[in-house]
């Protein structure tokens, strides 16, 4: 099957952290000029493997072969010297520094004699690399002035500033718009043509089937299998990933739609969105689809009282509403589960039960004295219902997996007994198993008479779960579709500004 010899080969790699065997005797081969997709649920050991390959972690056992020779990567510099470079999941760059400096930080070009930094040469080289990847960015701009997509291009330019031979792309498309993803594919093609060995990590099967040549599957830190991508189907990959078949990723239940709960009219914000109107009914899941930067999150934050400069009308159950703070929104029965779980959704250092009790400390502790017992009981009720996987509710949230953190956030808001629950990218970055649980749970919520708004950038999810979809483009609501009118073409074309 593989005629070529691998450029980078991992054999029998194991890595143990206190209490967890993150990698257990895994193998992986990357071939020059080929893309290998590394597939696995969250917690499968992909990130640990990336860190082992880039010299951030050192394996406890096993061998790394590069160009058929055994190598030892004891630091990021070692990996870099071999030409192994990674573009990480969360783009890690420096906001306050120039594009050039972001590209060359840690491996600055110096003047040969004095050892002083050679800015002229660095700017020149940065301009050249950016030109090569067709990213028209001035290398002297400060990073904070760039859009998310442009930042990603800078991250890629950084990876290319090394003489890259092995390029690891760790969920590179998560934050990119449609157009930018296409550009990324082109860059991958170019890297392939140059003979780079590429490892591609993604949760999106359409991407994997589009750009990968080979696949390797991990599950729970173990190697499961590998092969050519055209020899496998999506179902087979899913089965290998989860060890079982997930018959229905989006188990949407039929729920009777009731009266209008939330009515929004001509809602506008000076810079983020304009003239948005929609109704949300009891028992309904209303999907909001759009590209990154379409203004969906900003709209939801406005409903939750985060943004203050809004005009227009919001009515809850026929009663006009003015929310000027999240506390007010919560007491009116609107809750918002943010996209950035770690930053906005949970307090990582606190135990699960305190996180769940947090929004309603005064209700739980009615006499003004904190009662750990009462708090624990409330938490127990909701955490059990959401099937949070943890030894007990005293566990700190930071020790949970992404999917379970998400469940804690939802449990927290659910405990406030809301009317409307807004879920912003509820399954972003979590594994298929947790995803199905979150979806199943959304169906249960609406069955109980709640109204749900779901912001999602994943087309299958938004089409699978929603009763209606509002499509946003550059701050405007450009389409509203009922379930019978759903089609991927219509939704994407509206979201990308087509059809006008």
């Amino acid at each position: 099957m593989h005629q070529a010899t691998p450029l980078l080969e991992l054999r029998g790699i194991s890595k143990t952290f206190p209490g967890v065997k993150a990698l257990d005797n895994v193998q992986l081969s990357l071939y020059p000029g080929r893309v290998t997709a590394l597939i696995g649920e969250n917690g499968a050991g992909k990130s640990t493997l990336v860190k082992t390959m880039t010299g951030i972690y050192q394996a406890d056992a096993g061998e790394i072969l590069f160009d058929d020779g055994s190598v030892h990567l004891s630091s990021p510099e070692d990996a870099r010297a071999l030409g192994v470079t990674a573009i990480h999941q969360e783009t890690v760059l420096f906001d306050e520094l120039s594009v050039t400096e972001n590209i060359f930080a840690g491996h600055y070009l110096k003047k040969p004699k004095s050892g002083a930094l050679d800015w002229k040469r660095m700017h020149e080289r940065a301009r050249q690399i950016l030109l090569d990847i067709e990213a028209p960015i001035d290398p002297k701009t400060r990073l904070k002035q760039l859009s998310i997509g442009q930042r990603h291009m800078v991250a890629i330019a950084r990876a290319l500033s090394f003489d890259a031979r092995v390029v690891i792309l760790d969920e590179p498309t998560a934050a990119l718009s449609h157009h930018e993803i296409e550009e990324l594919y082109e860059i991958v093609e170019r890297l392939k043509a140059q003979g780079c060995a590429i490892m591609f990590i993604s949760h999106k099967f359409d991407e994997i089937f589009r750009i990968a040549d080979y696949f390797t599957v991990f599950r729970d830190g173990q190697y499961i299998g590998q092969g050519g991508i055209e020899e496998v189907t999506e179902e087979e990959l899913v089965r290998m990933m989860v060890g079982r078949t997930v018959d229905q990723v989006f188990p949407k239940l039929e729920v009777e739609i009731g009266d209008v709960v939330l009515s929004v009219k001509n809602l506008s914000h000076p810079t983020e969105f304009d003239n948005i109107s929609f109704d949300l009914r009891r028992g309904e899941i209303l999907g909001f689809y759009g590209l990154v930067g379409a203004g969906r999150t900003e709209l939801m934050q406005a409903l939750f009282g985060v943004s203050k400069q809004i005009t227009g009308e919001i009515a809850l159950k026929g009663k006009s509403l003015e929310v000027s703070s999240p506390a007010e929104a919560i007491s009116e029965g609107i809750v918002y589960v943010p996209e950035e779980r770690q930053a906005q959704g949970t307090i990582l250092e606190l135990p699960i039960f305190q996180n769940i009790g947090l929004p309603q400390l005064s209700t739980i502790n009615s006499n003004g004295v904190l009662s750990t017992k009462a708090e624990y009981e409330v938490a127990d009720r909701y955490a059990t219902r959401l099937r949070v996987k943890a030894p007990n509710w005293h566990e700190k949230v930071e020790n949970l997996s992404g999917g379970n953190q998400q469940k804690v956030v939802i449990a927290k808001w659910l405990a406030t007994k809301p009317e409307v629950i807004i879920l912003d990218e509820p399954t972003k970055g979590i594994d298929i198993g947790s995803k199905a649980a979150v979806h199943e749970f959304m169906s249960e919520l609406v069955q109980e008479g709640l109204a749900v708004i779901m912001v999602s950038s994943e087309l299958p999810e938004v089409m699978g779960m929603s009763d209606r979809i509002v499509v946003m483009h550059e701050g405007l609501s450009v389409a509203e579709l009922n379930r019978s009118e759903f089609s991927a073409e219509a939704i994407v074309s509206a979201a990308t500004g087509g059809g006008h």
Binding site: A105, L117, P270, T271, G293
Partner: protein, 338 residues
């Protein structure tokens, strides 16, 4: 042609929005106002002496800037000045024949070691810088008492070269001012042209990103503290020769002025942001206030209140400047609709 003109205009607006320009304008405005009350104050010779008076503050503020850039703070600078100052004064009084460069070198060496102690505790033990330096601040000052038995070293016990070197004038400019200018140049080159200097910005701007780029954040912090200690050691000598007396309470509380100069100069206490020019202007701003208030007949007690208010205003101005500019995604959309 018109394109070039437009570029010029943007450069101009950027310059006006620039913190350093604003701060320089405020300083100029202050000088003009003070000049109305007391024209002598703004005579060139007096301005030079105001700068000379501010030399030590400028050097320590630059040292502090490096530390603050890496998301740390060095509260032990003033205690370091007191300790190294006492040691060089005692060496000089005990061995008056020892060559001055050797005495100064001893002070710088000791200061560097004191800085390294801070740096090692932050780097290797992972203790927050504010805790480490709060501790060493008391320890270093305690040591001054121990080695001196609480006694003073007075001017008559010091050699004349020890006291006079920084006062020596070259083309009418005192040694204090010349040394500070050299340090400004050195720190500028360090932050702009040396990898370690740039790594301090990177480490403070985003420690995570720095880690992933292979920059050892703790190491940059260690070196920032080391340089801070080194410059404090130099200032220990300068301070003692300036006031011609060494005692336990030398430079007591001066670390606050130093941190204030940084903050006023636009150095972000959150790390990663700050320029040599801004920092120097911040120090000069305080220098002008400190020197002008007595001249225009304002009680020194007002000095602290005024410095304090200025710090608060500077912090507010900084946080507004750092606030994210709203993305104007609507502009295109509304145009398209029209």
């Amino acid at each position: 042609m018109s394109a070039r003109l437009r570029v010029g205009v943007t450069d101009m607006t950027n310059l006006l929005k620039n913190r350093e320009t604003q701060l320089a304008a405020v300083i100029l405005l202050m000088l003009v106002l003070i000049g109305f009350v007391n024209p002598d104050f703004i005579a060139p010779s007096n301005l030079l002496s105001v700068y000379t008076e501010s030399s030590i503050l400028i050097i320590l503020a630059l040292a502090q800037m490096l530390v603050v850039l890496t998301r740390c703070i060095d509260l032990s600078v003033a205690a370091n000045v007191a300790l190294t100052g006492m040691v060089v004064a005692m060496i000089n009084s005990q061995y008056p024949d020892l060559a001055l460069p050797a005495v100064i070198a001893a002070g710088i060496l000791l200061g560097t070691l004191l800085g390294m102690i801070n740096g090692l505790m932050v780097w290797k033990l992972g203790i927050p810088a504010i805790v480490v330096t709060l501790g060493t601040m008391s320890i270093y000052r305690g040591v001054v008492f121990l080695i001196s038995n609480g006694e003073w070293v007075n001017a008559h016990e010091m050699s004349s070269s020890f006291i006079n070197m920084p006062r020596t004038e070259i083309f009418g400019v005192q040694g204090f001012a010349i040394i500070s200018v050299l340090i400004i140049a050195a720190v500028y080159i360090f932050t702009e042209k040396r990898p370690l200097g740039r790594e301090m910005y990177a480490a403070g701007n985003s420690p995570t990103a720095a880690f992933y780029t292979g920059i050892d954040v703790g190491r940059t912090q260690f070196w920032a503290f080391t340089i801070s200690g080194m410059l404090s050691g130099l200032c220990g000598y300068l301070w003692i020769s300036r006031y011609a007396v060494a005692y336990v309470d030398v430079a007591l509380g001066f670390e606050l002025q130093v941190v204030a100069a940084c903050v006023i100069g636009g150095v972000s206490i959150m790390g990663g942001i700050g320029t040599v020019l801004g920092c120097v202007l911040g120090a000069l701003f305080l220098g002008v206030i400190n020197n002008a208030l007595p001249v225009i007949g304002i009680s020194p007690f007002w000095q602290m209140a005024i410095s304090g208010s200025v710090i608060v205003i500077a912090v507010i101005a900084n946080s507004r400047a750092e606030r994210k500019v709203g993305r104007i995604i609507l502009r295109k959309a509304t145009l398209a609709r029209g």
